[in-house]
């Protein structure tokens, strides 16, 4: 090896050493230089451990996903950072992004099985000796996003355009409760209205501040409301109370779908699309379930109290009770 080459190699290495030292002293993080600060922060014991869990959501419920299903270069932590960054973006950008993610995750799936939501849960543990409690982390939903299913969008657009239902009523799943609303359910600022797209041709119209109430047997249910509103996004909601107390899991009420589904037609709603549907536990037999339109006029057609379904349906057709001895 020539003397010159030897000198070049030696001084290049020296430069690399000095630049790395500079990175360390400056807490810098560059590429390909770095201070390599992995695990540099000290943690106390007992401390906390947490893990990010990505799930895809469709009609069948939640499916835990490996972030590498998005790309083999992806990790849960990196994806979480990407989602955190996303929250500063506009609604349109967020929707575009979520459509991409759900599209990749749902690739090669049938239309009905495609994911229409992505959620990030954080599982937290208090680290304990002998791994005590490892099977029982506390789980928090950190981020949820909704990708309106194409089929639902088509049906809603069709209803809005033609004024005719895209689909015949669907049978109520066995074991579920369906509340058909009539004048008896009206409480305040509420009236019966006729509509050919409503179940039985009538629904309840709640003026702003109006409410309705129905009796619900004791049990545990997922609440879905078939509702319609001309209100702008954010005002398309109904506050939920059981026996006079606001349901704390439904801080923003049910509805709130217009950001993602901007149609003035009947829609099955629960908590904001993307979030798990609202679970209700009623103790009294019956308990009084009240819905209040606090921000704008809202029409309500049916209330569906599901036993096993946990996610929003892909359809907007009304439900009908199965006839005795029928299917």
């Amino acid at each position: 090896m020539s003397r010159l080459k030897f000198s070049i190699v030696r001084y290049t290495l020296l430069a690399y050493v000095l630049l790395t030292l500079w990175e360390v002293l400056g807490h810098r993080e560059d590429f390909p230089l770095s201070s390599f600060p992995m695990f540099a922060q000290a943690r106390g014991f007992p401390g906390r451990a947490s893990r990010t869990v990505l799930v895809g959501v469709n009609e069948h419920g939640e499916t835990t996903l490996n972030p590498q299903a998005l790309s083999d270069l992806m990790s849960a932590v990196r994806l979480q950072k990407i989602f955190q960054g996303l929250q500063t973006k506009s609604d349109a950008e967020q929707a575009d992004f979520m459509a991409r993610v759900a599209g990749i995750l749902s690739d090669k799936k049938d239309e009905d099985d495609r994911f229409w939501g992505v959620r990030f849960y954080t599982e937290n543990w208090k680290t304990q000796l002998h791994l005590k409690g490892i099977d029982h982390p506390s789980r928090e939903l950190e981020f949820a996003a909704y990708v309106p299913p194409e089929r639902l969008k088509r049906d809603l657009a069709n209803d809005a355009k033609t004024g005719a239902p895209s689909e015949a009523p669907r049978p109520l799943p066995s074991g579920d409760l369906l509340v058909e609303l009539d004048a008896d359910a009206c409480a305040e600022a509420c009236s019966v209205t006729s509509d050919p797209l409503a179940s039985g041709g009538t629904a309840l119209a709640l003026a702003r501040g109006g409410s309705l109430h129905v009796g619900v047997p004791a049990g545990s249910y997922t609440l879905f409301v078939r509702m319609r509103s001309k209100a702008p996004p954010g005002d398309d909601r109904l506050l939920v109370s059981v026996d006079g107390k606001r349901v704390k899991e439904a801080k923003d009420g049910v509805g709130n779908y217009k950001h993602q589904l901007p149609f003035d037609v009947w829609v099955w709603a629960s908590l904001e699309p993307g979030w798990p549907a609202l679970r209700l536990r009623t103790k009294g037999d019956p308990s009084e379930l009240s819905l209040t339109a606090d921000r704008a006029d809202v029409e309500v057609d049916q209330i569906w109290l599901a036993k096993s379904r946990k996610e929003l349906p892909l359809f907007n057709a009304p439900l009908e009770r199965q006839k005795a001895g029928g299917e």
Binding site: M1, L13, L21, F36, A42, L73, I134
Partner: protein, 320 residues
């Protein structure tokens, strides 16, 4: 001159002499060729163009350029460009591993690799696994790693013969020593920086506290270590502190591995053990690093030993 014979200047002089001796050692060209095959073969297989393109698609909104990317306004490539660059990277990686037009194929692999790996650092979180790997590709691209065991080495004599020339036999030289040594040194510098960062950010408390205990247990909760030895260790706080102190000392002092050939191999062994220990106890795999540990191997010794076995196994020529 007498001044140079007194400590600490005499130590400095000896250290510099040690460095020079280490870098001037003659090495078997086959050792470098093996490193070339391992590194570029790994490069050709480590990126999936489809996965990379999807990463670009998903990450687009999270693009947060750092340092020089921001300074010179570099933007991420489009999906199709990324896919094309990955294909170029893979193809040239395979060519470089096989030693086909090595100088060109290795330089393209290193250049494209540097860009592709740099892009991945701009999505809100550093991916340290590629820092040294990218540098190793650049270092190897500047070396004569295809002088033996390559397509170039097979073809060159044929071209030389056509021109009526005879190529000199490839002999051991320092030319084949510096590339693996340089790559190995970058690994030691990385561990040195990691140790210094711990000391600089947290101090000795990093080791002399319950930090390591927590880290061992935490790994069991949020990762998947191959064993539960960490759970057992966590029951012994003093042992945990001793291990943490050992690890921190090895890391922070790994710069000493650059001083001479003995310290080099001592610290190389230590950091390899450390890394495998981290995997064993905490399940942390540092991406491309295990592949790069091949550069630490004493190839001269290994090849000499294998040559000896082959010579012994070969039947002795019949007496004439």
């Amino acid at each position: 001159m007498k001044l140079l014979e007194t400590p600490p200047l005499s130590w400095l002089r000896k250290s510099l002499a040690g460095v020079t001796a280490m870098w001037s050692e003659k090495a078997d060209p086959r050792g470098l060729a093996i490193c070339r095959i391992i590194l570029f073969w790994h490069a050709a297989r480590e990126i999936d163009p489809g996965g990379y393109a999807l990463f670009i698609r998903v990450g687009e909104l999270a693009w947060r350029p750092h340092a020089y990317f921001r300074a010179i306004g570099l933007m991420p490539p489009s999906e199709s460009t990324a896919r094309l660059l990955c294909l170029v990277y893979m193809a040239c990686g395979f060519l470089a591993a096989a030693g086909v037009l090595y100088r060109a194929s290795a330089l393209v692999t290193a250049g494209v690799g540097l860009y592709l790996h740099a892009i991945l650092q701009n999505y809100g979180k550093a991916l340290h696994t590629y820092h040294l790997f990218s540098l190793a590709l650049v270092i190897m691209a500047c070396s004569n790693a295809a002088d033996v065991w390559s397509v170039d080495a097979l073809v060159k004599p044929w071209f030389a013969k056509r021109r009526g020339k005879v190529l000199p036999r490839v002999e051991p030289s320092a030319e084949y020593r510096w590339p693996p040594l340089f790559v190995g040194s970058t690994i030691l510098v990385m561990y040195g920086a990691a140790g210094m960062s711990k000391l600089y950010i947290t101090g000795w408390v990093w080791a002399l506290s319950d930090n390591f205990r927590q880290t061992l247990l935490q790994g069991q909760f949020d990762a998947s270590p191959p064993t539960q030895v960490g759970v057992w260790l966590a029951d012994y706080p003093v042992l945990c502190q001793a291990l943490a102190l050992g690890a921190l000392t090895v890391e922070a002092t790994s710069w000493l591995g650059l001083v001479n050939r003995y310290t080099y191999y001592v610290w190389a062994s230590c950091v390899v053990l450390l890394q495998f220990g981290i995997w064993f106890l905490m399940g942390v795999v540092f991406g491309e690093l295990p592949t790069m540990f091949a550069f630490f191997l004493p190839w001269n010794l290994i090849l000499r030993t294998i040559d000896g076995w082959i010579a012994r196994a070969r039947p002795a020529p019949a007496p004439t």
